[in-house]
Subunit: 305 residues, 4 copies
């Protein structure tokens, strides 16, 4: 199975001020991501408020992204839902419209406590789009599925033919590496923590990753990997430190989904509000965030729309 | 606002062997609950695998229950969803078809971390069915919303006119009591832990409750309250101990949603399987559970279909 | 084995302003507890900052308490320590000086993860004072030992001859009751949450308890049980509600160990500061706490020194 | 202040079969560590079962280690205890006998919830040995002190003169890096997770570390850093992967304290049992562990006694 090389972006979902989804900015959005060196998008995931969208909205977004992206730019559709039937329908839809792949995290409800439960869930979704690679999105902080990923690989191996790998958004680089080493790299382990990308590259693997901060800091985040490949450790470190500095700022403003989405407005692409229950930033908060980003020289280091 | 007196049952969702929902058993189901002394149902909640159903299925179930119940038997529809827009639509539907009330737990995704987030979520749902009482369903073990409920009452007071109270499914009888005492009982605090019903009655309040085990052990659970009211402490204790003995058994078989749903089959009302990711019981497990129930005399103490 | 009837107090450890222990107040302290209807003390536990004391200090305190208490007033010495050898020595000492019993919580380090580990730990301590009843002090919020207590009873039964029971300081009245019912009440289950005493009495058992707030609210807390026994539910509820109101206040001031210890000063028995790492209350905090206690009529309802 | 370069070992505490401490193996132990390239020892910590030792035993061990080590080999004494007065006494003792430095984790009881509590605790210990560097040992999985370390650095900066840095045993390489960058590296950030050493080196820093598995896998673990410095990434990765393979094995046998200590016997230095509540390995478990170590070629890659 093809392995992903380079970084995939997890886009925000553009919305009108009243909260309706807004497909209009997507072409410009996609173009900018490509310009910044991203290799694809993982849509309708956590950054995209996927669980907060109706199935109809999720389909409309998928269609818009598939239509908007340049040739060879991957669209992976997150189809996870508490309702498996909905996920299956979304997986079929993704296949039908020509998405490159699909993915799903563990359902946040009911909380998954056993590998067998997780395998059953993934199996049913993957089977609904058998021609597409399926990625499991491991982000236990969001759904409580603190399960050993090596056990998952062993359990799906030979059972889910289109299981491609894991988007690994968890702290343990040890476990990440063990999964990467499984059967000499049988599965595609996509690094999923922008702040430790360089560390992961050194350990080996992480040729591919899925990122949340590349929406606004894509050029610099991509450059970490390029510098590393070029053997320029000093530059790679400087850019990773800058990436962490950006993350330090969004951590002060309710993280990537809230703070990060608002940065898009500051660089020229207003994506509108977050959905309830997220608390949208006030104008005062926006100004404070802008000042913090200024202080680290952010606006001089990113491409603006 | 009217307060609920007596116990409300949280029904399972009947399904065909292929997992499709099955509306056919609902009238018999409702009749049995009424016969056992229950005062209503809280449908499409956690026992009902509500999050695992599509909106269409949830509506169909609501309609079937409203149609099936006898006069005065309350139907409260759980409309919670990760997608607020879906919840709003379900709330409107519940009002339109004549449900008695609505309720919602905190969304399991994104995890609620602040009272303000929770209030915004409840507010939007409650406003969609302004003529119906809205109950917040507090079950933090399921969704991670470990928030102080007294703070919630203070926050909604004066802001959500049809906020009726809380279905309190958490361990702290102390917090439960403090909520009950808020403004001399302004809000309806529904006890939500079958195993500590008597303890809660003694402390005061708990005149109303919402129960999961009353699907199969309704007569005995209802009798705890009746014995208590009649001043017969000895009987109340005996029946509460029996209730705990039943709960001991289901805890051995993945809890109420899995084990409890299968008990229904054992007493004559086959409700079919659970949805993925739940692991359905094997025949061996069913036999083992039956033996454990036999050992505590369960089948002689419940009404069978 | 004798079962404890009535309430045992968990005293604070009196200290001089420089943090040295101060044995002088102990006789007056003991006399007041007896006057308020307490039946004994559980010393050097969490309220007593036992883990923060040296073994020499713990022994000195044990001796002072044994000497100070009136006839028939039980002294139970908490001998728990991260270092089992220290606990064994303290258990021997307790036996040698004529303490009534001993107890220990699970060691906070290393965190106990298995019943077998806990049994080994308890076994060694209990064996060091074979003539004294040994109580396991279950307070998992403090040491992470979230283990099923029924499993503990089964494991110690027939193995630790002087295992007397459990001081149960955890939320689950269900588990508490199941332990109480084990072999028709073979073990002494001491209720350990002042705020749910009445609830526990109703359920059955809880004839004995170990309390932290009885240091300053002993008379009223004792009265809950008396009213219950006398069949006066209304009074029992009023006094339990008052007990919760007092607890509401100390929760605003870092809980019983910090806030509660300072209340002692307000009622005439200055017990000095808490040890590091506790943050002692400032004078402003003390004044604020006093005002909150005044507001609930506390000072008119407790005996003052 | 001098920064540590290279790896410090956290030794096990040698014990006789009856559990008494055994000082006899320490000179041979120290010599082997030096031979393997270690730069010092961090004694009486978690690997050393420090909390399970009496103060007398801890002092005896400190003296034995100080006496046994070759010139320039650092002895850092972990002096943490639930009882601050004991820690202060141990810190004074460490200074008096000529230890190189001291360290302490947060007390496991009471659980530290605020930076200010932690600072007070560290401050009192550091002040007891003002001429020695003091290291905070961050290992929140063991004591629940999940506090932001950057906040700690800011809080101690200017307040605790001999605060040298942090032994960082936690998953977040992001936080580790942010601490390392604080005031251009003002504090000595000692890497504390053997399995992610290479990842940390790439990110920058981690010139020094404190390790648990270097007791038996020291030569190879040290070689990771040497290969990295020499620019030989391939070798560094191979050795890091081997280090993880060893850790995979001990994870199957209750981790480093239990499994790792028993490996010492397998390589010729029997250090005796673990103290209660640890469950010592059975002979069968030892044989199974030996087989797993054999399978990864462990015995050919370590120096044996």
């Amino acid at each position: 199975m093809e392995k992903i090389t380079g970084l995939i972006d997890a886009p925000f979902t553009p919305m009108f001020p009243d909260g309706d989804i807004n497909l209009e900015p997507i072409p410009r959005y996609a173009a900018m991501l490509a310009k910044n060196g991203l290799k694809g998008v993982f849509i309708n995931g956590s950054s995209g408020e996927g669980y907060m969208l109706t199935p109809q909205e999720r389909k409309a977004l998928s269609e818009a992204w598939v239509k908007a992206v340049p040739d060879g730019f991957k669209v992976i559709v997150h189809v996870g839902s508490c309702c498996l039937r909905e996920s299956v329908e979304l997986a079929r839809h993704a296949a039908a419209i020509g998405a490159w792949g699909i993915g799903s995290m563990a359902p946040p409800f009911p909380k998954i406590g056993r590998i067998e439960e997780l395998v059953k869930y993934c199996e049913a979704i993957a089977a609904a789009a058998p021609e597409l690679p399926f990625y499991y999105y491991h982000i236990p902080a969001f759904n409580g599925a603190f399960l050993p990923m090596l056990d998952l690989l062993e359990a799906v191996d030979g059972r889910i033919p289109n299981f491609a790998g894991i988007k690994y958004t968890f702290e343990s680089l040890y476990e990440y590496n063990q999964c990467r080493l499984y059967k000499d790299g049988k599965y595609d382990m996509l690094h999923g923590q922008d702040e430790t990308y360089l560390a992961s590259l050194a350990q080996g693997g992480a040729e591919g990753g899925i990122c949340g901060t590349t929406n606004y800091n894509g050029r610099e985040q991509v450059a970490i990997g390029e510098a590393w490949k070029a053997g320029d450790l000093e530059t790679a470190r400087e850019k990773q430190n800058f990436s962490q500095a950006v993350i330090n700022v969004i951590c002060n403003f309710r993280g990537n989904i809230v703070g990060g989405k608002r940065i898009m407005k500051l660089i020229g692409l207003d994506l509108g509000p977050n959905r309830v229950p997220f608390r949208n930033m006030t104008d005062e908060e926006e100004a404070a965030m802008k000042a913090q980003l200024d202080a680290i020289g952010f606006f001089g280091r990113c491409n603006q729309f």
